[in-house]
Every structure is written in structure tokens, then in C-alpha cells.
């Protein structure tokens, strides 16, 4: 019989200020960035947790967490509402004396150890809310139990020439393709010698973690899992294992990577298969469940795209992802782009390789992004709440800051410009 009281408590690291994704994270944590035409980045780990049967979850957040709190709501969207099921949002709180803000991901967990102790789990699964992937965490937990490990880290093999961007582990062959003992670990090494990248999915024995967190809080001056906790676990001769994962992992630090991850949603056999992965979102957030079906005009052309309910398409859409509330007017062309909620693209405007944040209204006969002339262009990103006047011209590889005044668009914005 399945025990009602969950054995594993999951904690999602969701709210650090990360200098990633440019203006898309100006007003929200990365985990709350829209992704997939209707969802948010954090929906991926939350849906993974739901499908893994892990439904006692805490979300650690501090950076502009309003949209995240709004999004998570009661947790009912992921079935995490019930006697032994729930999502608790844990913002920083007063009372620790040294610093009330979270000083790093490890400090965030350290400051909430009382919450973890209250639940008294057998394992603490700590994971980042920032990545796009589908994983059954139960397999990782099973491996962790089998090995009687103090820490088990999910790792993905990355090319050696990109390994310097990650925390990388050297894993021995104890269990072949399934995993093995972590013999070395280096956080973002300048000359990497091994390439099993940590996916920031870590299963801890609570006692071992508490021990190391206490030392970290006392002795170190940085408080990160990758930089401090994993090395200290190894140093303290704890049993640290690597669980080898070989699926898709969307690690999107730059706008170009974010754009590419969006394009991975397209095609006949997409790398990211929302249906197959069973992604759930909170349909109450922005009331998207009340959107009527997508309305398509008599002259519309739509090719290789994803478009959610609540949109109206009268123009042309190619290789693009469009969130609810968008209106692509007659004669408008949207190519290779990602339009977040409530974008309006005016008549005869042309949008090429653009990521446009929520509430952007583009006037008539506007050009954003140079047309692809065989030479691959870089992404232009438009911050939220912008009103782009008629006939504006904006190049490729531009950054348009949120909520600009009309005069900022008075002159043509050349490729590569940053407008703030």
C-alpha cells in the first residue's frame, strides 16, 4: 500500500536574481518566464514532480516573486492540494540575524531547514526551477536509496568544449549507463577534464545536508550548491553519486539559447514534446482557460507553428510560438519569433526572429529584425509593455528595454543597438 505521508520533500530553487535572458528577467525570476506557448519555465519541474508522484513541494523565491506566487496559486493545477500534498512558497523571512535575504541557493535552503525538519522526509530533492526537461525523479530517488548515498546528482554529458559553463562531475563506472560514484567535481572549470554536467537536481539525505550547510554558513563566504556544498560533501567523504541522464535538457542562459529552445518545440518530432511530457500549467493564471479557441482569418497562412487559444491570426505566421491574447492583423508576417501573452502585430508589419515579452503592441507597417538573407541573424528582444509606433524600423540583435516612450522609436534602431 502506498504510504499517504510522502517520503520525499522537494524544494525548488526558483527565485535568485540571475543575469540571464536579458530584459525577460527584468521583472520576473527566470522560472516565471513564459515558455511553450502557454506555460512558464517552472511548469516543467512542477509537472515532472507531479508525474513522479512527488507532491509535497516548497518553492524558494525572493527575486520579484509576485508573478511566480501568482502562477503557483494553490498548487491545485499540479494536483498539489490535499492533506499530504501542497506547494509552500518560502520567501526570505526575518529572524536569522546574519542576513535576512537569501545569500545564495544553499543559504535559501539553510534558512528553511526548520520547514524541511517539520516534514521529516527521508530525502530532500533540491532542484532548479529554471530548466526545460522531462525526467522521472523517482528513478533518481530509487538509485539514491539503492546506493545509500548522502547525495545523488543528476548529470548530463555535455561536449567538452562547453563544459566550462557548468558544474562538472567525474563519475566512475560503478553502474554503467545508470550512474556511479562522483570522484571529482569542479564548478565552471576554465580547463575542464571531465564533462558530466550537474543539472542542479540533487537528492540529499537531510542529515548529511544539514551538517554541511551548517559548516558552509559558519565558514564560507559564498553559499551555492555547486560552488560550496557539493565540494564540501566530497571533501567530507560523504557518499556522492551521479545519476546519468540522457534526454533533452534546455539550459537557457542567453537569449539565443532561449530562442533555440523555443524552436525545439517545432517540427514533426519536436525535441520538446509538450503533450508527451505531460506539461501542466496554471490555467487560472492570466485566466487563459477562459480564452476561446484560436480564430483564423480567411487570408491567414500558418506554417510550422504553435498557437494557443485566445489568439486571432489574420496574417502570416511561420516557425513561431504564440501565447494567448495575440492578434496578428491582416498583411502582418511573423517569422521565427516568440510572442508572449497579449501581443498585437499591426497590419503589414513584419517581425523576424524576435522574442517579444507580454503586452507589446506593434503598430502598422513596422519592421523588427532583418529578413534572413541566408546569413543567420541574431535575436532581437523586446521588453514588456512597449508600444511600437507605426512604421518603426528595428534591426536584428537589438535589445529594447521595457516600457519605453514613443520618442525612443523615432529614429531607425540599427542592428545590435540597445535602447533603454
Amino acid at each position: 500500500m502506498k504510504k499517504l505521508k510522502p517520503r520525499t520533500l522537494a524544494m525548488i530553487l526558483a527565485g535568485g536574481r540571475v543575469d540571464e535572458l536579458n530584459v525577460l528577467t527584468a521583472y520576473r525570476p527566470k522560472s516565471a518566464v513564459p515558455f511553450g506557448g502557454f506555460a512558464r519555465v517552472i511548469d516543467f519541474p512542477l509537472s515532472n514532480l507531479m508525474h513522479s508522484g512527488l507532491e509535497q513541494v516548497a518553492v524558494l523565491s525572493q527575486y520579484r516573486s509576485y508573478s511566480l506566487i501568482n502562477h503557483i496559486g494553490s498548487g491545485a493545477a499540479w494536483d498539489m492540494l490535499g492533506r499530504y500534498r501542497g506547494v509552500s512558497i518560502l520567501p526570505p523571512s526575518k529572524g536569522y540575524g546574519h542576513s535576512d535575504w537569501y545569500r545564495g541557493s544553499a543559504d535559501a535552503v539553510y534558512q528553511n531547514l526548520d520547514f524541511a525538519n517539520y516534514h521529516d522526509p527521508e530525502e530532500l530533492l533540491i532542484l532548479s526551477g529554471d530548466h526545460i526537461y522531462s525526467m522521472d525523479y523517482q528513478e533518481l530517488i530509487d538509485y539514491h536509496r539503492e546506493k545509500d548515498a548522502d547525495l545523488t546528482i543528476a548529470c548530463l554529458k555535455v561536449p567538452m568544449n562547453t563544459a566550462h559553463r557548468f558544474g562538472v562531475a567525474d563519475i566512475d563506472d560503478e553502474d554503467g549507463v545508470r550512474g556511479g560514484r562522483v570522484v571529482q567535481y569542479k564548478e565552471k572549470p576554465s580547463k575542464p577534464r571531465f564533462n558530466w554536467a550537474s543539472m542542479t537536481i540533487m537528492c540529499f539525505k537531510p542529515k548529511a545536508l544539514a551538517e554541511v550547510l551548517a559548516i558552509n554558513a559558519r565558514e564560507d563566504d559564498s553559499f551555492e550548491f555547486g560552488r560550496n556544498i557539493i565540494p564540501r560533501m566530497l571533501h567530507g567523504k560523504k557518499r556522492v553519486y551521479g545519476f546519468k541522464f540522457d534526454g533533452y535538457w534546455g539550459y537557457t542562459r542567453t537569449i539565443d539559447e532561449f530562442w533555440q529552445a523555443n524552436m525545439d518545440l517545432l517540427g514533426v518530432n519536436p525535441l520538446i514534446d509538450l503533450e508527451d511530457w505531460g506539461i501542466r500549467t496554471n490555467l487560472e493564471h492570466r485566466s487563459i482557460r477562459d480564452c476561446q479557441p484560436l480564430k483564423i482569418g480567411n487570408e491567414a497562412v500558418i506554417q510550422d507553428s504553435l498557437i494557443y487559444n485566445g489568439c486571432k491570426v489574420e496574417g502570416t505566421v511561420e516557425r513561431s510560438i504564440i501565447f494567448p491574447g495575440a492578434h496578428v492583423k491582416k498583411g502582418a508576417v511573423v517569422r521565427d519569433s516568440v510572442l508572449f501573452f497579449n501581443n498585437i502585430i499591426g497590419r503589414n508589419s513584419c517581425i523576424n526572429k524576435v522574442v517579444s515579452d507580454v503586452n507589446v503592441t506593434v503598430g502598422d507597417e513596422v519592421r523588427i529584425g532583418e529578413e534572413n538573407d541566408g546569413d543567420e541573424k541574431d535575436v532581437t528582444v523586446v521588453g514588456w509593455n512597449n508600444l511600437v509606433p507605426d512604421q518603426t524600423v528595428i534591426g536584428s540583435d537589438c535589445t529594447i528595454y521595457p516600457t519605453l516612450t514613443a520618442e525612443k522609436f523615432a529614429h531607425a534602431i540599427r542592428s545590435g543597438e540597445i535602447v533603454r
Partner: protein
């Protein structure tokens, strides 16, 4: 106490809607899917919600299961909370052996205990059968302003349709002075929409005085206008009784046009997307390279590889390569195989159409349906829930494919116009 807490809503959702044929084989008319993601009853429920009313009894009788699942806790329409609630009121045995609802007034009479246990000043009675938007609060204000005992919502309908309705003749102040139920020779074009506001005490008295009559329009209203204050609340706007296959098809097609006056999202109509029991949410609609869609509504979860023109697709419909769908309504989770042609048809949920099959072939004004000549005569072909059509099958006009038909149900590869399988 807030003003609205004193108003109770009774929603009559027991209608069979038999002219909708296979669409009501497994569900009551109010539960018939409409406009891609809605069910017919969503329009009435959302009107109630948007009018600020939150105490609702839903009277069911015919095949209520899918309706009950759809209503759930009522939280899709914000009916959960300390002073809010939606209750399902099925017929109960009790006083007599057979207590099935025998008419609108009889249904209300059998739930007098519910009415008494929810003290109210007025009772709004409406049906769950119609597609419209109406501010019931405005009607309540009208009712109070006129100090009416009963107020009936009425609208002008085309003269040739008036014989289907209760009709009233109204004087200058809006008082109903004459009433005729389904007149053969109409003297007015003002029709009752089956929406009533009663003073609660007055209604209870009315039902106590006459323990035999069963129908409001037929029995109670004609008597009431003679001695009491009965007013007509004038309604102007889009309103359809989608009780026939043709009317159902037309109202769906109306949503595709910008000037038709129907717009579920602008009207604030809420579906209950949670009721489908899926573990994942529908992802955005996927349009593959080479697909072509014009003048249509496409719901989340659809995957389109072929061509769709002037059609309404519910969630999860798959349209294969080189398939063409025209002037049709395709309900949830249908799978349309490669090279299939569907023209002027309604496909119920989870129908599978095999490769290169054709549904709706030939001249549109072909032979009418022989078994149900009054249901199918305009060219529309109906395919029942979960039917599986074999590859290369050809189905003509005005045909009915019964729910659950399997490839073995088809003796030949051709179903001629007007046939039923």
C-alpha cells in the same frame, strides 16, 4: 446581506433535445459541446455568474452524468464559497411512486424544499439550452422597478419561427396583456425566451394554489396575466435555441464570422476545462509545415497537417496530411486520417476516420435522411461518438453513423445519401 444573496437561480437542464439526434444519445442537450471548448450550458451558467448571482440549483433528469461531471464543484463559474453554491437537483421519489419531472413548473414544484431552504426574495428560472448573453441583474432591476409578480424575458423573432414559442402581446408600460402558447396563427412576433423572474412568495403561492398544472408557459403564465402583475423584459441581441442539427451547425458557423454578434470570449463565457480528466493540459495547437487553415476556429491540443476551411475544431483533433475539412464541426479527440475529405459534417467525440475516406459526398441537396427526415434534410451528415470509419469509406449527405460503429458495421464501402448505419 447583499442584494444578490436574496436571489435564487433554478436552471432547468433536463431537456432531451431529441432533434439533436446522435449528439444527445449519451448526454442531455445542455451538455452538448459547442464552439470548440464550451458546452451549451456554459452560456447560461456564465450569464448567471456574470450577473453576480451565486446560489444555483441545476435541475437535471435526462442522462445527467456528463452534465454532472461538467459542473463539478461549480468553481469554474465561481460558485464555490460560503454564500455561493451550485447544487444538482435530480428527480427524487417521495410523495408518489413516479416523480419524474413532468414539465418546467412540475420540476420546480418538486424542489420546493430546496427553495425553502435557501431563503430568497426572487427566483430566476432559466433553461440551459440556449446560446446568448444576457445581464440577469438588469432583468432583476426591471422586475423590481415594475413591482412585478412575474417577469418574462421576451424578444422579437422572425414571423415564420414564432409558432415554436410562447408569445405575448404587451402594452405601453411593458405589461403582458395577452398570451398564446405556440400559436398556429400568430398575432405578434414577441416570443418568450423561457427566462422568468418570480417573487418567491408569489411563486410558492401559485404552486400551492394549483397542484396539477405542470408547465409555466402553458398553464401558469396565461392565468397570471389575468389577475397579477406580469411584465415582459425586452431582450435584443444574439439568442439561439440550438435545438436542431441545422440550428446547431449555423450557430457554430456564426462564431467564425466577426459580424454575427456571437463572441463567447467577449461575453465572458467560461468553459470547464478541468472536466476532461486529462493528466496534462492541452498544449497550443500545432500547425505543421504544409498545413493550410482558413476561416476556422482551432482549439488547443489540435495537430493540423492537412487543410481546414470554415470549420470549428474542439481540443485534441488530429488532421492528417492531405486531409481536407470544410464547413464542419469536429468534436474533441477525433482522428482524421491522411487523404480524408470531410464536407458539411458533424463528428462527435473520438471519431476515427480511416485513410482516404470521404464523409459528405455529392450534391448538398441530396436525399434527406430516411429514418429521421425531420432531423437531417439540409445536407449535414452526423457521425456518432467513437465511431470508427474504415479506410476509403464513402459517406453521402444527410447520413447518420451511429455512435460506436466499427469497421464491421459497414457492409459496403459506400453509404448512400440519407442512409443510417
Amino acid at each position: 446581506m447583499k442584494e444578490h444573496d436574496r436571489t435564487l437561480v433554478l436552471l432547468l437542464a433536463g431537456g432531451v433535445g431529441s432533434r439533436l439526434n446522435v449528439l444527445v444519445k449519451t448526454r442531455a442537450k445542455p451538455a452538448v459541446p459547442f464552439g470548440g471548448i464550451y458546452r451549451i450550458i456554459d452560456f447560461s451558467l456564465s450569464n448567471v455568474m456574470n450577473s453576480g448571482l451565486s446560489q444555483v440549483g441545476v435541475l437535471t433528469q435526462y442522462k445527467p452524468l456528463s452534465l454532472m461531471r461538467h459542473l463539478g464543484t461549480g468553481d469554474a463559474w465561481d460558485f464555490t464559497g460560503r454564500t455561493r453554491g451550485v447544487k444538482i437537483l435530480p428527480p427524487r421519489t417521495g410523495f408518489k411512486d413516479s416523480d419524474w419531472y413532468k414539465g418546467t413548473a412540475d420540476a420546480v414544484r418538486q424542489n420546493i424544499d430546496f427553495i425553502r431552504s435557501h431563503p430568497s426574495k426572487e427566483i430566476v428560472i432559466l433553461s440551459g439550452d440556449h446560446i446568448y448573453q444576457m445581464d440577469l441583474d438588469d432583468m432583476l432591476q426591471f422586475h423590481r422597478r415594475k413591482e412585478a409578480d412575474v417577469t418574462v424575458a421576451m424578444m422579437v423573432v422572425p414571423m415564420e419561427q414564432i409558432h415554436q414559442f410562447g408569445t405575448g402581446i404587451v402594452n405601453d408600460e411593458g405589461r403582458i396583456v395577452e398570451w398564446e402558447e405556440k400559436p398556429e396563427v400568430p398575432r405578434t412576433d414577441l416570443a418568450s425566451m423561457g427566462i422568468y423572474v418570480f417573487d418567491t412568495e408569489y411563486l410558492l403561492q401559485l404552486l400551492a394554489d394549483d397542484r396539477e398544472s405542470t408547465d409555466f408557459g402553458m398553464h401558469f403564465i396565461p392565468k397570471a396575466i389575468e389577475r397579477d402583475n406580469v411584465f415582459a423584459y425586452p431582450f435584443r441581441g444574439y439568442w439561439r435555441d440550438v435545438g436542431t442539427i441545422q440550428a446547431y451547425w449555423e450557430a457554430n458557423m456564426d462564431i467564425l464570422r466577426d459580424d454575427s454578434g456571437i463572441s463567447p470570449e467577449e461575453w465572458g463565457i467560461r468553459p470547464n476545462s478541468e472536466a476532461n480528466g486529462r493528466s496534462a493540459d492541452w498544449p497550443p495547437a500545432r500547425f505543421e509545415a504544409g498545413s493550410s487553415v482558413q476561416g476556422s476556429m482551432i482549439s488547443a491540443g489540435c495537430v493540423i497537417e492537412g487543410e481546414v476551411v470554415n470549420s470549428v475544431l474542439s481540443p485534441g483533433v488530429r488532421v492528417g496530411k492531405n486531409a481536407t475539412i470544410r464547413d464542419s464541426i469536429i468534436l474533441q479527440d477525433c482522428i482524421i486520417g491522411e487523404g480524408v475529405t470531410i464536407d458539411l459534417a458533424i463528428l462527435d467525440k473520438r471519431v476515427v476516420v480511416g485513410k482516404d475516406a470521404t464523409v459528405g459526398r455529392g450534391e448538398r441537396n441530396a436525399l434527406i435522411n430516411r429514418e429521421y427526415p425531420k432531423h437531417l434534410f439540409t445536407g449535414i451528415t452526423l457521425v456518432g461518438k467513437e465511431a470508427v470509419l474504415p479506410p476509403r469509406l464513402t459517406v453521402g449527405r444527410n447520413c447518420i453513423i451511429l455512435p460506436g460503429s466499427s469497421p464491421k458495421s459497414f457492409i459496403t464501402v459506400e453509404v448512400g445519401a440519407g442512409e443510417t448505419v
